[in-house]
């Protein structure tokens, strides 16, 4: 008799309980003979009292409106606490649109907006914000398609925070002295990040998977920074920070009517500009599988990333890949149970994927002591292969789907997190009831669909391998895994 079965039984009931039923406690080992988990170091005795019901959760829906200047307003009213957070998302103002010789232009435009306006100096802005314990950040990623202005404060200070936000958004000064300061600090940061194995792995991985596409960028070069002038920053702001395709979202202690009045009062100067949304291109398909080694002298671990391109956010395979990825590299997933708990190769291991307007990336990654680089990499690849080659046992599959659906209840503690789901809806054009129907869609995924997703997205002909570590000890090991390219920690190829 298997101790494992209780979870299968539990989930079978839970699937039904999505629509109704009161909680009941299952206790004691159930009958039956479900398959054992695929790795050792996990024994399910099935004696703990588990409620059979997956708590049915309906996320609160925000209210939405369109304003005259093109701005889309999203408000999740939540009066539990006297605070409000907000986010303005401006498509077309992200690092994706940086000119090739000025990588970082969008990021530093965003950062510098906070460093002074026509009437406020940088220290004045900091002092005003921090005296009322408010936050205000302007940011974009090097590969992001939009910029984001976000912040929050206690309700009593929110009016003042919006005054400051409007000033930062509409009247940034881009003072040359402030740009000099920011550039100097950023250059020091670039030097420091090269000491970090995670940074080195990310840089090489993104390059391997995306090539010259903006998604391949992880940091600007010093030359990029030198090419960016205050005029270029000002121009980027002037042409890109338009409300035409933007949204402003609030969560917390205010209503839609209050939010609308606030936006109309504070951002009345933000006029429709006829700005284009900015078109987005897909990266070139990922090339033949290769192996990359970044030599980091003094490393006592090898940092490994294995992965490839994924999909766009609206891809019909999104839910299936979510499920199979969770089986592989989610919390307590196969990689964790096998590489950490069974073999003791690592402290942490997992797999992750991103999906945006263009194809994102998928990767499994870990750091292992140098001595076990070879078996750890072999086992990592074998776990990926197993999901391509064999269907997921029913009990394990049901558990993982239950985990995904069950965790929705926890999001209800945070209005910011719930709002984030609906910002995704707006950004990617997902249907209005997307999150209401999401649990059912997860539950409908079959083992065959999950395996098909693994076969399609994790095909051996697409997987790139990146290792950061002590080249004197791991070069020969990596050569066995494919054509090897070696780089130093400054990004230069080594013979």
């Amino acid at each position: 008799m298997s101790n494992r079965t209780i979870l299968a039984a539990t989930v079978a009931i839970a699937t039904g309980a999505m629509s109704s039923s009161a909680p009941t406690l299952a206790q004691g080992p159930p009958p039956g003979g479900a398959p054992q988990p695929s790795t050792t170091q996990m024994v399910l005795k099935g004696k703990a009292p588990v409620s059979n019901e997956v708590l049915k959760v309906k996320l609160p829906r925000p209210q939405e409106a369109d304003l005259a200047n093109g701005l889309h307003l999203i408000v999740l009213e939540d009066r539990r606490l006297p605070q409000i957070t907000f986010q303005i998302i401006i498509p077309g103002a992200g690092g994706y649109f940086d000119p090739a010789d000025k990588i970082g232009l969008a990021s530093y435009t965003a950062q510098l907006m906070r460093e002074g306006t026509r009437t406020r100096t940088s220290p004045q802005i900091s002092e005003t914000l921090e005296t009322m314990s408010a936050s205000l950040n302007v940011a974009t990623g090097l590969a992001g398609t939009s910029a984001s202005i976000s912040g929050g404060s206690l309700t009593e200070n929110f009016d003042k925070l919006m005054d400051l936000t409007a000033d930062v958004l509409l009247n940034p000064a881009f003072a040359p002295a402030e740009w000099d300061r920011l550039r100097t600090r950023t250059k020091a940061g670039l030097v420091q990040s090269r000491a970090n194995p995670g940074f080195l792995a990310a840089e090489r991985f993104n390059r391997a998977v995306f090539g010259a596409h903006p998604a391949g960028r992880v940091s600007p070069s010093a030359a990029n920074l030198d090419a960016i002038t205050p005029e270029a920053l000002m121009e980027f702001h002037k042409t890109r920070y338009a409300p035409d395709h933007a949204a402003i979202a609030f969560a917390g202690d205010l209503s839609l009517a209050e939010a609308r009045k606030l936006v109309e009062a504070k951002l009345s100067g933000w006029k429709k500009a006829g700005a284009p949304k900015g078109s987005v291109m897909e990266p070139l398909a990922v090339g033949a599988p290769r192996v990359f080694l970044v030599a980091r002298p003094g490393s006592v671990q090898t940092t490994l990333s294995v992965g490839t391109q994924s999909m766009i956010r609206t891809d019909p395979d999104y839910t299936a890949l979510t499920v199979v990825n969770r089986v592989l590299g989610g919390t307590m997933g196969r990689l964790f149970r096998h590489l950490r708990e069974e073999k003791g190769y690592t402290y942490g291991v997992g797999s992750f994927f991103s999906a945006t307007q263009y194809r994102g990336s998928w990767q499994a990654s870990t750091s292992v002591r140098t001595e076990v680089t070879e078996p750890a990499l072999t086992d990592l690849l074998a776990e990926i292969a197993e999901l391509r080659e064999k269907p997921i046992p029913a009990a394990e599959f049901a558990d993982v789907k239950r985990a995904i659906v069950g965790s929705f209840a926890l999001a209800l503690e945070s209005p910011q997190q719930v709002l984030g789901y609906y910002i995704d809806n707006w950004q990617y054009g997902l249907p209005a009831d997307y999150w209401d129907t999401y649990p059912a869609r997860v539950m409908e995924i079959t083992p065959a669909q999950a395996q098909a997703a693994a076969q399609k997205y994790w095909a051996p002909g697409r997987l790139q391998i990146v290792a950061v570590g002590d080249a004197t000890k791991i070069t020969d090991i990596l050569k066995k895994k494919g054509d090897l390219e070696v780089y130093d920690a400054d990004g230069n190829p080594l013979k």
């Binding site: 606490l81 006297p82 605070q83 402290y347 942490g348 069950g406």
Partner: protein, 447 residues
């Protein structure tokens, strides 16, 4: 502008939201002790169908004996490896597969375990915590297995990171008392030496109900929950109290200083640690306000003066955390390329002297007050945060209600208080300075 919450004032561009500084709800709690000595703090919060359970054991790395550094944390890993009714790793598996989250964490002062779960899984959380408190499965295999994971954790967090060894060096040099001078993660040699007998003895001595505090916060009924706690934990026997830790620290007479070479770092860095009293002391609030004035955000003195105006550093931080024994007020910063550690040290010292001698602006005090208020509001959005606070405040200070008084305690701190603690504690004779310098470059690529 004072208009009501719903009535929006259209005058000018002021749109009033809320009344000025509306009082925030206080956390209501019950504080109960079972017959076996287990202390239970419960706070109902029905705003989301979620609850959190935190179990704090009164044992940290400060309780470790010589030759067994890192043991409290290694033991924490053993707590996920099964007990009488729970299989190896079944605990985390059940939590995550039922939509929850969980983890454990060890500090110098305590070991803490926590779960957040949908509200209908109250029995699951209680059962899992009770079963391992009652009957942890201690085997050689489990120990070997987790020894590997922990040694890998040490490599990831310390040995393979720039400045990793700096963190250990500061405490080793600053403290004379063995309890605090070693790191929580411990040494590789000591981790290798730990035996199954050590694990069993440690469990018996420290993982007893009378040496633990449970905090439960969220969508629960206090009476029902207490009854369930009695049901699951009530029969676990009390153990003799563990020996008290000697936390006495001889007064430091002169500055201690060390230069450390780091083969993984690319920029130098300075770390200073000033001795301060335990955080239960009367000066703790003023010390907290002092940290805010020196390094709380970009309006703080370190940032504005040293980072922005003088352009000496990428960032300078000041920090003092909760500490049951003698604490450290930690300052650290990295000079920009072309600037020296000496330049940076001089600038930090100048700001500290200015804090002692020159007036503190009203807005700096105001900033510390509002930041205490916002931190409170932010923290009570999460049942886990509240449960951690209540149980830790019960364990450290015997004041589970402390969370409700933080804002008013900070509001009482005056500029004169801050200057007094700066003059008293930020003195060179009682500080430790560690300078980390990159080791001359290895052959390119290490080939």
């Amino acid at each position: 502008m004072t208009c009501g919450l719903k009535r929006l004032c259209a005058a000018g561009v002021v749109v009033a939201l809320g009344v000025a500084a509306a009082p925030v709800r206080k956390i209501q709690l019950t504080d109960t002790k079972l017959k076996n000595g287990l202390r239970v703090i419960i706070s109902e919060d029905h705003s989301a169908p979620v609850y959190s359970i935190v179990v704090q054991y009164n044992v940290g790395s400060r309780d470790e004996r010589k030759g067994r550094t890192g043991f409290a944390h290694l033991f924490e890993h053993m707590m996920f490896k099964g007990s009488e009714n729970v299989g190896q790793n079944e605990h985390p598996y059940l939590i995550f597969m039922n939509g929850g989250s969980m983890n454990g964490t060890t500090s110098k002062d305590r070991t803490m375990y926590y779960e957040t779960l949908p509200a209908n899984q109250l029995d699951l959380g209680l059962f899992l915590e009770a079963d391992r408190m009652k009957s942890l499965g201690i085997t050689k295999d489990n120990l070997e297995n987790q020894r590997n994971a922990v040694q890998e954790e040490r490599r990831s967090g310390v040995d393979n990171q720039p400045y990793g060894k700096t963190f250990e060096a500061i405490d080793e040099l600053a403290y004379d008392n063995a309890a605090y001078e070693h790191s929580v993660i411990g040494s590789m040699a000591d981790l290798s030496a730990a035996s199954v007998e050590d694990v069993a003895a440690f469990f018996k001595m420290y993982y007893a109900p009378n040496n633990a505090v449970i905090g439960i916060v969220g969508d629960v009924n206090t009476k029902t929950t207490l009854a369930k706690i009695e049901q699951y934990f009530g029969a676990i026997p009390r153990q003799p109290a563990p020996p008290a830790v000697d936390m006495s620290e001889p007064a430091q007479k002169e500055e201690r200083r060390l230069t450390l070479e780091d083969g993984l770092a690319r920029l130098p860095r300075i770390d200073m640690a000033y001795k301060i009293p335990p955080s239960s002391g009367p000066d703790d609030d003023a010390i907290g306000v002092m940290a805010t004035i020196l390094s709380g955000g970009r309006s703080a003195r370190f940032y504005e003066s040293i980072v922005r105006q003088k352009q000496l550093s990428t960032g300078v931080s000041a920090f003092s955390g909760d500490s049951r024994g003698p604490g450290l007020f930690r300052v650290s910063g990295t000079p920009l390329p072309g600037k020296t550690l000496a330049d940076l040290e001089t600038a930090i010292d100048a700001e500290i002297e200015r804090l002692k001698a020159d007036p503190i602006a009203d807005w700096e005090i105001e900033k510390a007050r509002t930041s205490a208020r916002r931190a409170f509001v932010n923290s009570i959005a999460s049942s886990l945060n509240i449960a951690v606070r209540l149980s830790e405040d019960a364990l450290f200070y015997d004041q589970p209600n402390r969370i409700n008084t933080h804002e008013e305690r900070i509001a009482k701190v005056t500029a004169a208080d801050v200057q007094r603690v700066a003059r008293q504690y930020l003195v060179k004779a009682s500080r430790t300075v560690v300078l980390t310098v990159p080791k001359p470059a290895a052959p390119k690529g290490g080939l």
